[in-house]
Symmetry: C2
Subunit: 145 residues, 2 copies
């Protein structure tokens, strides 16, 4: 698949699997994401996945569309985890991620977070927004032709 | 989820995502598998996934069933890759894996391999059968209740 085809598939989907490394062991979780204008955004409540990515930022995201067992497309995005906190440096990217991700409503994990809503929530219920800085993007396709 | 619930979910499904480590980077691929009597079997043509697992046998398998965004189950199996070649030591396990996997026909990658069919196929078209020796099995569930 060309880079443009990989990007189109990322743009047209919202669900994928993220791989990261947890103390030298592989770890895989399903995630919701948004891919827009070449940038990959996702979010998560704090937990093992975020702990792993903070310790080792190497991540991969794999998604597939299956038509039949013989007709499928699979895309692999490899890159670096970049946390997008709501601080001076990252505020713009944080708002961009929040804005794109909240368009798709009530996902996998509670999405009730609103920026600037004050410090009423405890830190462990505060979603972590992040992007993955793409180092490599590739795709494979199989057709029944 | 209890261990029995995790095993039931593995038994009732055939499609999951496997994570492994490729030269200190995470790597994720979709796989077809069979889980029977506590044993996890899969197969693959030679390639990056098999190269990685031979170099570092730590693997994880994650599968989910999604009813809605708020109602899902996710199981994570962590363990060690064990190749099952058709040799003196592993012949029985090799045949067991082949027998279970071929029940489900023409999967993802060509399944036309037949044991003892002779050496007419080149090694790079010869599927690699393997199991994952379970070290840890866990699951999470979310309900809309």
């Amino acid at each position: 698949m060309t880079r443009a085809e990989c990007q189109r598939m990322l743009t047209n989907n919202r669900f994928a699997h993220l791989g990261c490394i947890a103390k030298d062991r592989p770890y895989v979780v399903p995630i919701r994401y948004v891919f827009r204008d070449g940038a990959f955004y996702s979010f998560s409540l704090p937990g093992k996945k975020i702990d792993c990515l903070r310790a080792n930022p190497h991540a991969c995201v794999q998604l597939e569309t299956l038509v039949t067992d013989e007709e499928w497309q699979s895309v692999l995005l490899e890159g670096l985890f970049q946390e997008l906190p709501d601080d001076e440096k990252w505020h713009g990217q944080h708002m961009q991620a929040w804005s794109l991700l909240q368009e798709h409503g009530n996902w996998w994990e509670p999405g009730a977070y609103k920026p600037d809503a004050g410090a009423t929530e405890s830190a462990d219920m505060h979603p972590v927004f992040y992007s993955i800085q793409i180092e490599n993007l590739s795709g494979r396709t199989a057709t029944n032709a």
